[in-house]
Symmetry: C2
Subunit: 201 residues, 2 copies
Amino acid sequence: MDHLKALDIYRTHIEKYIVLNDEEWTVFKDHLSIRTLKKKQNFAEPGLVCNEVGFIILGSVRYYNVREGEEITGYFSFENEFVSSYKSFLTRQPALNYIQALEPTIFVTFSQKSMQLMLAPPLLAYKIERFGRLIAEYYLCCYEDRMTAFITKTPEERYLDLLSTGRDVLQRIPQHYIAHFLGITPVSLSRIRRKILVSPL
Amino acid sequence: MDHLKALDIYRTHIEKYIVLNDEEWTVFKDHLSIRTLKKKQNFAEPGLVCNEVGFIILGSVRYYNVREGEEITGYFSFENEFVSSYKSFLTRQPALNYIQALEPTIFVTFSQKSMQLMLAPPLLAYKIERFGRLIAEYYLCCYEDRMTAFITKTPEERYLDLLSTGRDVLQRIPQHYIAHFLGITPVSLSRIRRKILVSPL
DNA sequence: CCAATTTCTTATCTTTTGTTAACGTTTTGA
DNA sequence: TCAAAACGTTAACAAAAGATAAGAAATTGG
């Protein structure tokens, strides 16, 4: 995967948010970097401000917190999704969570500083405001769905939802990560799976 | 509470997001409405697109879903907070939840249509893009905190957090609403409260 | 002011979930 | 390739939470 190819993919995907002409893209592109992580390396970690918003070209990450020595996985992201400890990025407060590569992962990233520069009025400001708005809205919709599921559904239902909509998530991710993502323990998820196997639906 | 007073309060509060000069305010103001709800009336409901973003001048609301005939309260908002079924507002898909006034409540609102009009390039567009970005970011930070608490904390800890940071929430809201907000049943919350009373800290 | 409703607590019983540990399988990395 | 580590399942027990019901207290709405 060479850099130009990665940037092309990025440009194509953000066209859902903002369409840049060649002049704008030239400026924007200079604010983008390629970042690669090996498996288990961190994109973000607690105590450090997350200064970047990434976009996964290839690979995947998990978001997790450490509580009483245990890792609790809260979320995953895959190809063509944005990745950031976004509250930290926005507020410049230290992050509370790790973001860790689950496999060798290639990102296109821009920094908080670049965001500020591009928001300063010359060429791109207007479109970057929109870009920032749409990224925030994208995250917000994810969170709203997830929060609603937690309030109104049982762990078993959330697992079944994941089964039906979950693309290849369940194949690519260790099951005990999925368990925490669902808000339960790995043992409990194993029980739910057996129950479903025995009496499917 | 007369309308001019309410609009003044609104203008003051949104200055955290965008500062409008008098000309801009004049235009913006024409897109604002005052909406009042009696106790138990709905700001939004399932099946209908939520076409407004409100801001509470006086009063409070709860967000809730209905599941198997039971109302499950997921969130609250009070004075000086935005109110909307925001994903519905953004996507123009029907909302999944009710938003109900907990007491007689006064809102300043703008509509989806106004948002679109103000985003169309003449005077305000740039500032409205920013406004939209900052509202989305505001919501996103709320959601991120809440989601993290759900993944990493027990119901008892979430209740203690609410006790320490909860302003007057606990005084103003029936306890069984709080219970669902914490992700547990009212009976269970009652038990947690007793446990804390018996052995505080 | 008072009856009706809502709210909170408590008790009992049931179900679900967590904890710990054991065991077999799979994956990993040197 | 092979030993170590990670992973998933299962069992047994403990702890937490849900369901239901009853009763007291508080609030509400005529």
